[in-house]
């Protein structure tokens, strides 16, 4: 294997020195010389203390079984087969994004006579903020984890030897690049400028460190099938998981979706016919969106998924629905 170890001593006085991973400047504690570490320095690493035990982790899992549209008998028939903690590495990258986003917003108003006017509101927005970005530093496999939700915890390395630790296997520079593009994107959206005519945004990486985060893996069975969920070892919340769905909820969803969606579409068409206003189309679109969202649940609701899984099926997001709701609200005012 060759000589792979290097003892670290002060080149001036020979005293043994202690240098934290990721640091490049250290002052010798014996002779006071300022020293510089050249080459591969690693990254500053912290580990959060695990706050849960097996009982609380299983308790969180069982509470989760009872929530949402999961199989109704899951709480009764689901059986935990295994529950253990692991440490998972996450890149924790702090960035600063600075810049300007300029453009305009268009607002449409209609007066009592039904005349509509579109108004342009010009905007210049400064973006200057510090952001935290995290991403898993190993392959998440089927754990359904991609980023951290919680950045605070008691730091300790005590448990790191006791609890199996997933090793970091991704590149720091890749993570830094992702953090930068995330910062630019979040900076842009924080400016709230719908039509951008000029943009100048810069992102600086201020600090990159690695957090070893305690995660409890709970495996359970339901009708011969093996499911898995993860519980945050600091906050005790279920982070991700798969659970069996229930055909009853699937059919209730599609029943509600077709009836409400169909009637909304009918209402929209009738509104347009009676008033001549094109805002009735919003009702038709809303109807289709309700139908689409409930269809996705009807088709794929046999498995309920929480977390960042690759095969997660998503319906239309709430913001889209909100915008359409606003349009309809404007039309009826």
């Amino acid at each position: 294997m060759g000589d792979i170890t290097v003892g670290l001593n002060c080149p001036a006085c020979g005293g043994a020195i202690t240098i934290a991973e990721g640091e490049s400047v250290v002052n010798c504690q014996y002779c006071g010389s300022t020293l510089y570490a050249e080459g591969d320095k690693g990254v500053q690493t912290i580990a959060f203390k695990n706050k849960l035990d097996e009982r609380t982790a299983i308790g969180a899992a069982q509470a989760w079984w009872g929530k949402g549209f999961k199989a109704r008998d899951l709480k009764r028939t689901g059986a935990v087969t295994e529950c253990y903690p692991i440490y998972i590495p996450f890149w924790d990258i702090r960035t600063r994004v600075a810049g300007w986003v300029c453009g305009y917003e268009e607002r449409t108003r209609s007066d009592s006579k039904g005349n509509t006017k579109t108004e342009r509101i010009y905007k210049e927005e400064m973006v200057l903020m510090d952001l935290a970005y995290s991403e898993i530093a190993c392959d998440p496999g089927d754990l359904g984890l991609r980023s951290l939700r919680n950045f605070s915890g008691e730091s300790t390395f005590e448990d790191l030897d006791m609890i199996p630790t997933f090793e970091s296997t991704t590149s720091r520079d890749d993570a830094d690049a992702h953090a930068r593009s995330d910062a630019i994107a979040r900076g842009r959206s924080s400016a709230h400028v719908p039509h951008i005519t000029f943009e100048n945004l810069h992102a600086l990486v201020k600090r990159t460190s690695m957090i070893y985060y305690p995660i409890w893996v709970v495996r359970y069975t339901y009708q011969d099938r093996m499911y898995l969920l993860t519980v945050d070892g600091v906050t005790g919340q279920v982070l991700s998981g798969r659970a069996p769905g229930d055909p009853l909820f699937q059919s209730l969803a599609v029943t509600a979706g077709t009836s409400i969606g169909g009637l909304a579409a009918a209402g929209g068409v009738l509104f347009t016919i009676n008033t001549g206003s094109e805002f009735g189309i919003a009702g038709v679109i809303l109807g289709f969106i309700i139908l689409g969202a409930t269809y996705v649940f009807f088709r794929h609701g046999s498995e309920i998924i929480q977390g960042d899984f690759a095969d997660r099926k998503k319906g239309p997001d709430m913001r889209q629905l909100g915008n359409i709701g606003k349009m309809i609200g404007g039309a009826y005012r």
């Binding site: 510089y36 050249e38 100048n200």
Partner: protein
């Protein structure tokens, strides 16, 4: 990995400092340098003497002063037709030479913006010195390359803060020279203030 003792590239004297500041100040010849994996690099710097009348705890804060060539090719501003005379830009409203100050210490975003805009719009006048007179330095957290990246932000800020709403700006910004400027500061409840 290799641990080396930091020595002044100018006079060869070993550096002894208490803080983990990567801007190494030589006690012997008074030069500043930093290191990377390619070796030591001298950093040109200036120190402004503190105002003897300023009270409170004084310290030196590092700033990157970037002499820039800023040229506006075209712009589009909505409203505010009465442009304030561009006092910061020598050479008219469409650009010219200017000094952009980028705070180099670890600062929160509000202080960063306040100091960058205040110093760039009215650059401080002071007799140039090279010694710190025993006053402590705040470690430098933003390197020269990062400062150049931020200069772009400060330049656009100057344009955006003029009356009217900026809609479009096409410009060229060239950094001609970078210097580390140490300005004396006092800490106040509302953050650090200049004590020149």
């Amino acid at each position: 990995m290799k641990i080396i003792q930091v020595k002044c590239p100018n006079c060869g004297q070993a550096i002894y400092q208490k803080t983990k500041d990567e801007m190494f100040l030589c006690q012997n010849c008074g030069t500043i340098h930093y290191r990377d994996d390619k070796g030591p690099h001298r950093v040109p710097f200036e120190v402004a003497p503190p105002n003897p009348n300023s009270g409170g705890q004084r310290f030196y804060m590092p700033f990157w002063r970037l002499r820039c060539d800023f040229h506006i090719r075209s712009r589009d501003v909505q409203g505010g037709l009465l442009h304030k005379l561009a006092t910061t830009l020598r050479g008219g409203d469409n650009g010219g030479n200017l000094y952009i100050f980028v705070p180099a210490a670890e600062l929160d975003t509000t202080t960063f913006r306040r100091l960058a805009v205040a110093l760039t719009t009215s650059p401080p006048q002071y007799p140039v010195r090279q010694d710190f007179g025993g006053i402590e330095r705040v470690p430098t957290a933003i390197g020269q390359d990062e400062a150049i990246e931020m200069a772009d932000f400060v330049a656009v800020t100057l344009e955006a803060e003029k009356p009217g709403t900026l809609q479009y700006l096409d410009y060229e910004l060239k950094v001609l020279e970078a210097k580390l400027i140490y300005l004396p500061m006092v800490s106040t409840p509302s953050g650090p203030w200049l004590a020149i």
